[in-house]
């Protein structure tokens, strides 16, 4: 039966988290039940205050084979990191 139900990806926003984080996936016939199931499968231990679900088939991912082309060019561009600014002594916690 479960093989007939589509797969959903679940994202939970935790108590102190600002963004929803991917926590796993589950099967459900529609979005409403996916949220209910996510509540029961992923928030039993008080993990979250908000749930997103998205059909797994609607999520498009970068290809692992493209890793070199996509990410390696930024390796040698250290000037893109904001580490070259002199910070005033008085400013703490940055």
């Amino acid at each position: 039966m479960s093989s007939e139900w589509p797969l959903w990806e679940v994202f939970i926003r935790s108590q102190h988290g600002l963004a929803h984080k991917h926590v796993g996936s589950l099967h459900a016939p529609d979005a409403g039940m996916a949220i209910k199931n996510a509540r029961d499968v992923y928030t039993r231990r008080n993990e979250g205050i908000s749930i997103w679900v998205a059909r797994s088939s609607d999520i498009h991912a970068s290809s692992p084979g493209d890793r070199a082309a996509l990410f390696e060019p930024s390796n040698d561009k250290v000037y893109r990191h904001p580490t070259f600014f002199p910070m005033p002594e008085e400013v703490k916690h940055i």
């Binding site: 016939p29 209910k36 029961d40």
Partner: protein, 260 residues
């Protein structure tokens, strides 16, 4: 002023409903129709078990008020025979197929959420407090079981047929939920218990609304089991409860005071 015995009895009714239904739901563990549903229905069972512990622990304290040694929640759960149980006949009915389980849950949840809502207004602060905690859980339970009734009722021909058959088979156990006996009457009159009879019109309209959406027919009322002060609330149970208790109680009875 109603005696402690009546309050004790009423607390057993509240606690035993949760305990027995939790045990029934527990029988599905590892055998649910899908993994997600297995976890979800077990969660509901654990909620009900948690509520049962609170009711039975309080019952034990009330029992001790008469100078008797009050029993602990475990003693009450594991060392009473079926005639000592005070749950509704509805909740002890076997799991059957999944439509049977959902129908039992739905009919109970719709009543339970109304009952707990009323009990939050109880003059007994302890009852009001437990009810306030439990009603939040019950609101989710009723949302879930109603959802399933609609899905199965308004689903395929097969699921519709099974859902209707399940409702028809369990309908005769619904009358007991609204039957008020002398024990309850005395506690209602003092503002401690909820008046179950007053819940019936609300229950009927909620059930009707769900059945309309689910394209299910409300069964015609026929003989209702367990009314006339001879039902689960008075300790007269169907044959199913003893079998269930035999499984549930076998370990604590074979190994008294076992710790793990």
């Amino acid at each position: 002023m109603p005696g402690h015995g009546q309050l004790f009895d009423y607390l057993l009714r509240l606690g035993d409903n949760g305990l027995v239904l939790a045990q029934r739901l527990g029988e599905w563990v590892g055998k649910g129709p899908v993994l997600e549903e297995d976890i979800a229905s077990t969660n509901v069972g654990l909620d009900l078990l948690g509520q049962a512990r609170l009711w039975l622990a309080y019952a034990g304290e009330v029992e001790a008020r008469d100078g008797k040694p009050g029993r602990s929640e475990d003693q009450l759960a594991y060392l009473r025979d079926s005639a000592g149980y005070r749950n509704l006949l509805l909740v002890e009915q076997p799991n059957g197929n999944y439509a049977d389980t959902i129908a039992r849950q739905f009919l109970f949840d719709q009543w339970h959420v109304l009952l707990l809502g009323q009990l939050t207004l109880s003059r007994d602060e302890r009852i009001a407090g437990i009810a306030a905690k439990a009603v939040k859980e019950a609101r989710y339970h009723v949302e879930r079981s109603t959802d399933w009734v609609v899905r199965l009722g308004d689903g395929t021909e097969l699921s519709h047929g099974r859902m209707q058959a399940a409702i028809d088979a369990l309908w005769m156990y619904t009358g007991e939920m609204f039957a008020v006996d002398a024990t309850e009457r005395a506690l209602v009159d003092t503002g401690i218990a909820a008046d179950a009879a007053a819940l019936e019109p609300h229950w009927r309209s909620a059930v009707q609304a769900a059945f309309d959406e689910a394209t299910l027919a409300v069964p015609t009322d026929s003989w209702m089991q367990g009314t006339r002060e001879r039902g689960g609330k008075q300790g007269a149970h169907t044959e199913h409860l003893s079998h269930m208790l035999a499984v549930m109680q076998s370990l604590p009875r074979a190994h008294p005071n076992a710790q793990w």
